[in-house]
Structure formats: structure tokens, C-alpha cells
């Protein structure tokens, strides 16, 4: 099973490298939002506690939506999805493989977006290790629900609008947890950063189990 999951993830990563438009769009979106924030509200407000982390997570959520939708558009282009679903074990491997690949792309988006925020807003991070762990957990916990929603809306014309509408309410607690974990890491509040990071981890596990249960039977 693991071998098949890695094969799907590798296939996705290879296709992403050749058709980088989805990843480039996600990174551009993130960079523009970070720039706009400091210009619109001014650097002083943008540096206030919680503002930059909240923007980071909201931007990353939309980057996840863009990346996942692009990934499945590619699958639908020549009925490539059917090719995988018809393979023995294809249904089970598809979801986990997509999660791995999309989390990898999101990690790149998060790294670039996070660095841009640190530089543009001149943020001092008291606990960089905790910040990195919170960001990594958040990056891993976002795709399960986003990919699940993309799968559920796969054959609907309005899926571009529906995915964020479906994902946002479910992911709101995770966005709050991510914002609080990063804010605490920047401020040097270790216990708070750890507590919120554990909550992100719990969300990630629950969402992944949910997706692994639903997607193999729901995908058509």
C-alpha cells in the first residue's frame, strides 16, 4: 500500500515539475497577499499580534485549494483518474498519494510566503523551532479536507466556488489553532505554542482518517 501511495505522490510531483502553473499560481497568490497586507493596513498594523499569522494561514488555505483543484483538473484532462481508479488498490492509494504531493507543494508555498512575511514585516521570532513545527503541522493538516472537498465536487461545474465554501467552515478551528500557535511562537510563549500545535496535529489526524474513509467510496 505504501509503495502505491508513494507512486501516486511521485507521479503528481513529476507532473507538477513539468506543469508548474498551479504551484506558481499558489506562490504568486501568497506573495501578493503578503505584500498587499503591509501596503493596505500599513506595516505597524500588519506587525500587530496575530495579524500576520492569520493572513498566512488564510492565504495558505486558498493556496491549498488552488493546488488541489489544479491537480484534479489534470486528472480529468484525459480521464487519467479512471486509469488510476481501475488499478487494483488505486482508489485507496489515490487519496493518500495526493495528500503527500499537495502537502509537499504547500510546504514550498508556506516557506516562500513565510519568509516574505518575516522579511517585509521585519518580524522577530522568539521560538523559530516552534514556529517551524506549527507551520509544518498546519501544512500537513490542510490538504485532507481540501482534497476531500475537491473529490466530492469533482463532477460539478461550480466546483471552483464550492470547494472554498465547503472547506472554510470545517477548517476554521484549524485556522484559529494555526494562528494562535504561530503567534505564540513569535511572542516566545512556549506552552501556548505547543498546546495549539498539538491541536493542529489532532485536526490533521481526524481529517486524514475521515478522508481515507470517505474518498475511496465517494470518488467517481
Amino acid at each position: 500500500m505504501l509503495r502505491r501511495v508513494l507512486l501516486v505522490a511521485g507521479r503528481e510531483a513529476r507532473a507538477d515539475r513539468r506543469q508548474a502553473d498551479g504551484l506558481v499560481a499558489a506562490i504568486t497568490f501568497m506573495a501578493v497577499l503578503v505584500l498587499l497586507l503591509s501596503l493596505v493596513v500599513g506595516p505597524h498594523v500588519a506587525r500587530e499580534r496575530g495579524v500576520a499569522p492569520a493572513l498566512f494561514w488564510v492565504a495558505l488555505l486558498f493556496a491549498a485549494v488552488i493546488t488541489a483543484q489544479r491537480s484534479f483538473e489534470r486528472e480529468l484532462a484525459d480521464d487519467a483518474l479512471d486509469g488510476v481508479l481501475a488499478l487494483p488498490g488505486g482508489r485507496d492509494a489515490l487519496y493518500a498519494g495526493k495528500l503527500l504531493a499537495i502537502a509537499g507543494s504547500l510546504a514550498a508555498v508556506a516557506l516562500i510566503g513565510g519568509l516574505l512575511q518575516l522579511v517585509f514585516l521585519d518580524l522577530d521570532v522568539a521560538l523559530p523551532g516552534h514556529l517551524a513545527i506549527a507551520a509544518a503541522l498546519g501544512v500537513a493538516a490542510l490538504p485532507p479536507i481540501v482534497v476531500l472537498d475537491v473529490v466530492l465536487t469533482l463532477r460539478l461545474r461550480a466546483r471552483a466556488a464550492l470547494v472554498p465554501i465547503l472547506a472554510l467552515p470545517v477548517l476554521l478551528p484549524q485556522l484559529v489553532a494555526g494562528t494562535n500557535a504561530v503567534t505564540a511562537a513569535i511572542a516566545g510563549d512556549e506552552p501556548t505554542a505547543v498546546a495549539w500545535s498539538l491541536l493542529i496535529l489532532a485536526f490533521g489526524v481526524i481529517y486524514t482518517v475521515l478522508g481515507l474513509t470517505i474518498v475511496p467510496t465517494a470518488i467517481e
Binding site: 513529476r14 507538477d16 506543469q19 484525459d78 480521464d79 487519467a80 479512471d82 486509469g83 481508479l85
Partner: protein, 219 residues
């Protein structure tokens, strides 16, 4: 209620062991029963499903491949099924070679890179094997998809309109591949009419009005 399937079953040779089957299968798509209580058994050799556009041939193949749910009835198919739909199922962004390698590795048939190269050569794709598939013509993509017949030998092969988009030479290659197929494999070909494949078929069924009816069997 007497189902068409019953007659389809009786049409099979008495000693022919079915390698895959749909039994009393009903498929409903968009509130319409596309297939109604069909009973389709595939034994070794070539079976042709013939019918006009929209008659349910593709749905029957997709039901066998497990790609559409059955509203009722059952599906009895071994795990090693190769389903080639009427689109090539190749992922854009990958080359023809990478697509073939992915499918082969997924089935656990790793190692034999030479086999992929030979298949690409056979299907006339040697020069284009390392081009991303989205830059290939529709006919070339179809050839690349059909090369899976060589790289993923399976007990049950389901081919949906395999002659679509093929030029004369490629169609000849496909007929040759079907003639050369192992006699133990069950091959189901859906087509709206192709005399050459009809001539190769051991069994021929007509699909229409949600039913499958036997049309011919070679003695």
C-alpha cells in the same frame, strides 16, 4: 422476469469458464437505468460488445472495471483487469514512457524497463516516448495507451472503442496485438461496428435498450 443476461449466459460455450462476470447487474446514471439486469460472462478469447452510441457499451465496461456502482446485481472480476477507456487515461505533465512506467510499477511489475521501450517501439512511439503526452496528437496518445497491452499483461482486458483516433497502420497494430493475445486472457471490446474485430471475436453481443443480447458465437 426473464433477463437478457440469462440468454447471454446460455450463449457461452458449455466448457468456457467465465473469468469475469456481471450478474443481474443494473446501472443507473442520472436517474436513468442505462443497464437493466444484464448478465455478462467473459470467458477466454475475444468478446465484442456492439451497439450504437449511447446504448450502454461504455457503462458495461466501466461496471466491469468497477468504475460505476451497481444499483443491483453483482460484479465478479479478478484484480488484474486492464481497462482502457475511450480516452487515453494518460496524465498530462508526464511523458508516454513515464505514464507506462507508473501503471506497470503500480501493478508491481517493476524492473523490466526494456519491455516499456519495446512496447513504445512497437506502437511507433520511439521518437516521441519522452515528450509530455499533452504535446502528442490524439492518435499518438491512443497508441501510448494501447502500449499498456504489452506492459501490463492481465487476465481480463476491457477495451472501449479502441479503434477511435487510430490511423490505418495503428489499427492494424491493434488487430495484430489482439490476434497475438494469450488464449487464456478474456478480452472485451466495445465498438459501434468494426468488421475486422467482429471477425476475430469468439462471441458477439448487441447492447441496446439497457440489455445485452447474444448475436453470434464461433463454434
Amino acid at each position: 422476469m426473464e433477463s437478457t443476461v440469462a440468454s447471454a449466459r446460455s450463449f457461452a460455450a458449455p466448457d468456457a469458464q467465465p473469468l469475469a462476470a456481471l450478474r443481474e447487474a443494473t446501472v443507473i446514471l442520472d436517474d436513468r437505468a442505462v443497464l437493466r439486469r444484464i448478465d455478462l460472462e467473459l470467458a477466454a478469447g475475444i468478446t465484442v460488445l456492439r451497439g450504437p452510441n449511447g446504448s450502454g457499451k461504455t457503462t458495461a465496461l466501466r461496471a466491469l472495471a468497477g468504475l460505476v456502482p451497481l444499483a443491483r446485481g453483482s460484479r465478479d472480476v479478478p484484480p488484474d483487469v486492464l481497462y482502457l477507456g475511450h480516452r487515453p487515461q494518460l496524465l498530462h505533465g508526464l511523458t508516454a514512457r513515464e505514464n507506462l512506467r507508473f501503471f506497470r510499477d503500480f501493478r508491481g511489475g517493476g524492473g523490466r524497463e526494456a519491455r516499456i521501450a519495446a512496447a513504445l517501439d512497437r506502437w511507433g512511439l520511439h521518437a516521441d516516448a519522452d515528450r509530455p503526452v499533452e504535446r502528442m496528437s490524439a492518435g499518438q496518445r491512443r497508441r501510448a495507451a494501447l502500449a499498456r497491452l504489452d506492459t501490463e499483461p492481465c487476465t481480463v482486458v476491457l477495451l472501449d472503442e479502441p479503434f477511435a483516433e487510430l490511423d490505418v497502420a495503428a489499427a492494424e497494430l491493434l488487430l495484430h496485438a489482439l490476434r497475438e493475445a494469450p488464449p487464456t486472457a478474456a478480452i472485451l471490446v466495445a465498438t459501434h461496428g468494426h468488421a475486422e474485430i467482429d471477425a476475430l471475436a469468439a462471441r458477439l453481443f448487441e447492447v441496446g435498450d439497457g440489455k445485452v443480447t447474444p448475436a453470434r458465437q464461433r463454434p
